[in-house]
């Protein structure tokens, strides 16, 4: 039997293609190299989470302080979760005036990051030990003082957990930006995919880079969360042996 015909000018095994890609000068340099795309990915993540936090933190904290609107928070969180992120990206990039590019990606990713931040802010403030709040009120603190000096410090670990979940999920999903004309680590995956059997090195290289970057973000945010949460052991943060509070994950 004859060997199958080569499908292009380069005919290398998947493994050889990966080694070739990882040793290519342009993989590590220039504006389409992995370092530059990683920075873009992190920048998109930062902007989206910032946008989501600016919207969701005040709302979640205010509702949690008033202990009202828990149902509305759940509905909004569920609604943003059930919209397919890629569908929303294509909708913003393809149909609206925003057009293809990073802007559409940031907005869609912010919608996606909204749910964890909002739910954790609400749950964090609303579930502060009522005895602590009562004691503060007994000492003559006003509503604003209770919020600033009792509820927010006690809710900080859960607020941080919400930002961490949002950050890690958004960083993973920011890969989609490249598929709607934006930047980031989706680009090598997209380009590799476009080259069919000759692009497997780039495809796998990009995919591995995404995984590495997401793990790095997870570690950095976990350390930040640990710094903001007195009395946690770092090991427990990574192993997550005990289930986190249901609201934070479900």
């Amino acid at each position: 039997m004859a060997e199958p015909l080569a499908t292009g000018p380069v005919d290398m095994s998947t493994w050889q293609q990966l080694v070739h890609y990882l040793n290519d000068y342009y993989t590590w340099n220039g504006k389409n190299g992995l370092p530059a795309e990683t920075l873009t990915q992190l920048w998109l993540t930062f902007l989206s989470v910032l946008l989501a936090a600016v919207v969701a933190l005040p709302v979640g904290i205010a509702l949690g302080h008033a202990k009202r609107g828990g149902g509305a928070v759940t509905v909004v969180a569920d609604a943003t979760r059930s919209v397919p992120t890629y569908g929303l990206l294509v909708l913003l990039a393809g149909i609206t005036a925003i057009g293809v590019g990073n802007q559409a990606a940031v907005i869609a990713l912010a919608v996606f990051a909204l749910a964890p931040v909002l739910v954790n802010a609400y749950v964090g403030v609303a579930t502060v030990d009522p005895d602590a709040v009562d004691a503060a009120r007994g000492m003559g603190m006003s509503g604003g003082q209770i919020l600033r000096r009792v509820e927010l410090p006690l809710a900080l670990p859960l607020l941080a957990a919400g930002i961490r979940t949002a950050g890690v999920q958004t960083c993973a999903t920011a890969t989609l930006a490249a598929f709607v004309g934006g930047g980031g680590l989706g680009n090598p995956i997209n380009l590799g995919q476009a080259q069919a059997s000759n692009g497997r090195g780039e495809l796998i290289g990009g995919a591995l880079a995404v995984i590495v970057v997401v793990i790095a973000v997870e570690i950095v945010l976990a350390l930040l969360q640990a710094a903001l949460t007195p009395g946690t052991r770092t090991r427990a943060l990574f192993l997550r042996l005990r289930p986190r509070r249901e609201a934070a994950t479900a």
């Binding site: 998947t14 979760r81 059930s82 919209v83 397919p84 992120t85 890629y86 569908g87 929303l88 294509v90 909708l91 990039a93 393809g94 149909i95 293809v100 890690v168 993973a172 999903t173 890969t175 989609l176 598929f179 709607v180 989706g186 995956i189 997209n190 590799g192 995919q193 497997r200 495809l203 796998i204 990009g206 995919a207 591995l208 995404v210 995984i211 997401v214 997870e218 192993l239 997550r240 042996l241 289930p243 479900a250």
Partner: protein, 232 residues
């Protein structure tokens, strides 16, 4: 008809355009994308359900095995979906959708495993004792008493998994695996972007999520008649 837009919606590149999906050729494309989507979701949720039932029954008595299996499933869930689809599409034959089914199944494991374990944990101990007293063997105890009682939690897990899988499956099309995401890719890559195709695909995605939610709620009611009797 009220929903019919005026003029030629295809020429206007309108979002809502019945002329797009009533066209014989387009209808075929949409229906095959929809059936691919449903098939990917159904197969991956079904496989993940069977796997998590088996795993849950094996590990539920041991704290270490429980933590281990949950930890592994959690780890799988944190792998970014584009990366996972990309890796499997390059190692498996991209003409078959096995790679997509594997990725989606892996994502569903944590959602289902957690709910199956919670469901089994909430079976009251005295019910199990009573069944043993009636002479139920281990197999009959699991199939006739424990799993039916765990059902609400299991079906809740299936609903969660189904809705999230319907969303993630749209990403599979970026790596050539098909489904409704294929329409999104094609619509976005047209010059100018084909609004009707994008809008139709997105509406179908959301409709699919809503319909599956309702169907699974009905299945849950049908499978647990004793809850129905109590609530009415």
């Amino acid at each position: 008809m009220l929903l019919l837009p005026r003029g030629n919606c295809l020429a206007d590149n309108a979002y809502w355009c019945p002329a797009y999906f009533t066209n014989h050729y387009n209808r075929h494309t949409i229906l095959s994308a929809l059936s691919e989507h449903v098939s990917l979701v159904a197969r991956s949720v079904a496989i993940a359900l069977v796997l998590s039932l088996v795993i849950a029954l094996l590990v539920r008595r041991s704290t270490v095995a429980r933590a281990g299996s949950i930890g592994v499933a959690n780890l799988l869930y944190t792998i970014p979906s584009v990366a996972a689809f990309a890796l499997l599409s390059s190692f498996l034959d991209p003409r078959h959708d096995t790679g997509a089914v594997i990725v989606l199944t892996a994502y569903n494991l944590i959602l289902l495993l957690r709910n199956v374990l919670v469901g089994l944990d909430t079976v009251p101990e005295d019910v199990v004792e009573a069944a043993r007293g009636l002479g139920y063997g281990r197999f009959r105890l699991v199939t006739r008493v424990e799993l039916p009682l765990a059902l609400p939690s299991i079906v809740a897990g299936v609903r969660l998994a189904t809705v999230s899988t319907i969303g993630i499956t749209t990403v599979a099309a970026l790596l050539g695996f098909g489904g409704l995401g294929g329409l999104l890719v094609a619509g976005l890559n047209a010059h100018p972007p084909f609004h009707a195709e994008i809008f139709t695909a997105l509406v179908l995605c959301i409709a699919l999520a809503v319909v599956s939610e309702v169907v699974l709620l009905l299945v849950e009611r049908w499978l647990s008649p004793w809850r129905r009797a109590r609530s009415t």
